[in-house]
Symmetry: C2
Subunit: 437 residues, 2 copies
């Protein structure tokens, strides 16, 4: 396997070196944090008077955990280091569709560091300057679009800043310019498979090598399916706008976990209920500190994402620890008749069943006091003769396998391909019609 | 008036210095052009064997005029300098809605030069690093969005990469982050005025200082109206993707024509029928040569835009010649009963009439063999008592003033504000229902 590094010295540094970098960078972040309303208030409460009061990781863990609510309460400038935006060159924010948006600010050095990390991520995933990068993610305030754009440009790929949507144009562009690398959501990549077929283009005539699939949780099974359909490598990435977006963690060519760049972030996994630090290997809430952003310091940020850290070393030689796939969110967990279920568990089961196609929906309704779970899946029609008995057997099989995994017996509906809604952006696969609790 | 320069030496260079720079840069462009299929073919035909064969402007004018059709025929790589995209870091293209798209390529130095020019443009329009720049133009393959984004970042403004659409969010963002500078289409700025009012926000509570209005032709009268409504300065800019987008020409704070950056472009005004070079002051087709792009050389490109060059010097001290507003396009000219009419002529007349609001449409139909022109305008309702006679008088006045300008007597329809379609992107104000000719 060909392994390329963007910055070999940093990427293969030993633990002691990484920790030394972290503690040193932390000094600058604490210094900047004194200039923010939020931290100056907390530092006062905690008796922290200078960056030198935070010299060890033990000191560090005295700092408050910060929640999305804290960010929202601080809208717009509670975390801004300074009196004005003079040094700020970029603002990003969440869409704020579920309330007050969360905002981040970058000064020029922050932007530079974030861009460099994305180039590192893309190099880890095998990209080189000869690659043609079609960025099918939306641009704008969403960090994923511009973030990957900047990183790909830094690496020297030819960037095609096409953005999301307009499938026919996407396909023509892939064909005409020999696109090798896509940045795309898994839902849209699924949709693209069908569209390419309908468009009468043989996949072999395209030059696709890999896709960076992001912005949406998806399972290992979905990835394998996508890789098989397109005969490409799909790389998982992990980022959130509060942590500068896409440069946080990325898979290398071994695709066995997401290297989190520990020279630039401090990673903690905590018990979401108690806030207690968990050892590597145990699943808990991902908590991250950004060491590369001084215009808006943010430390010990609770991502609400659940994952664990792998304890073994990666074959690629990188020493930065690897995060598992996100297993769910502390806030998207479904409680169905008292049982905790993550949508990803359902996806994992159904994508393992070969007769099942690339699209599904999860539907929750109420029948009296009882929650009813319906899983709607599309089937590969060519695998069936048309005999209804065959379909009933498949239904039972899916239902049974789901019950074995999530301890709930769902109703299963089978659909022909193309019937369920497809998503050009983030998929919304859970429809919960149970009303307020 | 406060005049700031981005690069004073270049911006105030005398004619001889500018011409020396042009001829020197031209050598590099010719050298790159030898590597393109299009130019290598033409150079052979013309007997041009080396860049040294093009030493003077007279030599230069032997090069072929290039049309959009030539670009399309060369799709995708007829103008690419090189065998592959290895040195290319960016591709942009037109939407191709009216046929094959036109494509441009930038290597890293080209991108760097284009970005620097946009920073120069924004500085000319009074922007400084303390400004808050809300980029309401769409990102993606359109050069205007990313181009201004990069230039504003280079200048050090806080860039809010919000993109187009979602008016409520735009307004909230303007308010919450103290936006001083907008990049927006004139149509959308018109629409924004109404939306801000409806949203119950007093314009005085916003921090707006200026708007860069682009991507759409508009008249001086529209600009004045927008400036009056918002109490800001509106700056006109001129660019086309084939010429690297927005950095081509920009107004300075004197707003009396668009400085075309002659260290980076060679400007010619030609007679569109004969191709003959016209003297400064005469209206003709704008022909431009890009001196800053080596990944895809393009010389003597016919823009199809009609304008003239001002002959007097600008008070700002910049020596680079000024282009007038685009008066029309060689291809959007309407022929109405045999008379040539540009939509901009109609806009110019109606925007001068105080009772007329900010929105209008031009409608063409056929009545037998006769073309019928209908101009639909919105009125300021508060200027009227409700007496129908008043409205009839206004109708006649508009019709009469149009006839005096375009020699056609149009039908005029008056509408209440908010009735005619508004446009969040490029306005489409001409509806031609006369069918094929």
């Amino acid at each position: 396997m060909q392994v390329n590094y963007w910055n070999k010295e940093i990427e293969t540094a030993d633990r002691a070196e990484i920790e030394a970098i972290q503690l040193e960078k932390l000094q600058h972040i604490i210094k900047a944090a004194f200039k923010t309303p939020f931290y100056s208030r907390h530092f006062k409460k905690l008796g922290i008077k200078s960056p030198r009061d935070i010299k060890t990781f033990e000191d560090f863990r005295k700092l408050p955990l910060v929640s999305k609510e804290d960010l929202r309460r601080g809208y717009p400038n509670g975390f801004l280091a300074g009196e004005n935006y003079d040094d700020v060159v970029r603002m990003h924010s969440s869409s704020g569709t579920t309330g007050i948006p969360t905002v981040i600010y970058w000064n020029r050095e922050d932007l530079e560091a974030a861009t460099d990390l994305v180039a590192r991520c893309l190099t880890a995933a095998g990209c080189t300057r000869s690659d043609i990068f079609q960025n099918m993610m939306s641009y704008g305030l969403f960090t994923g679009g511009l973030g990957l754009h900047y990183g790909a440009e830094r690496l020297g790929m030819m960037v095609i800043p096409i953005g999301g949507g307009n499938t026919i144009r996407q396909i023509n562009t892939m064909r005409d310019f020999g696109t090798t690398t896509l940045h795309i959501t898994p839902s849209y990549l699924m949709h693209l498979a069908t569209a390419i077929k309908e468009h009468g283009i043989a996949l072999e005539t395209l030059s696709l090598k890999r896709a960076i699939v992001g912005a949406e949780p998806h399972t290992e099974e979905t990835r394998r399916k996508l890789e098989e359909i397109f005969n490409i490598d799909c790389y998982n990435c992990y980022g959130l706008s509060e942590m500068n977006g896409p440069g946080l963690a990325f898979e290398c060519v071994y695709k066995n976990g997401l290297h989190i760049w520990e020279d630039s972030y401090i990673l903690e996994i905590i018990d979401p209920a108690t806030g207690e630090l968990l050892p590597d290997g145990e699943t808990g809430e991902v908590v991250v500190t950004c060491l590369n952003r001084r215009a808006m310091p943010l430390m010990r940020y609770r991502t609400r994402d659940l994952a664990h850290v792998y304890t073994d070393m990666c074959q690629c030689g990188r020493t930065h620890r690897r995060l598992s796939r996100i297993k769910g969110r502390t806030d998207d967990m479904l409680i169905i008749n008292g049982v905790n279920v993550f949508p990803s568990q359902i996806e994992e089961v159904i994508m393992k069943i070969p007769e099942v196609g690339t699209n599904y929906m999860i539907h929750l309704t109420k029948s009296g006091a009882i929650d009813r779970l319906t899983v709607k899946v599309e089937i590969y029609s060519k695998m069936f003769s048309g005999d209804p008995v065959e379909l009933d057997i498949l239904k039972d099989k899916i239902s049974e396998e789901l019950r074995a995994s999530i301890y709930i017996h769902p109703r299963v509906q089978l659909h022909e391909p193309g019937i369920l809604p497809t998503f050009e952006g983030k998929g919304k696969r859970v429809v919960d019609e149970r009303g307020e609790f």
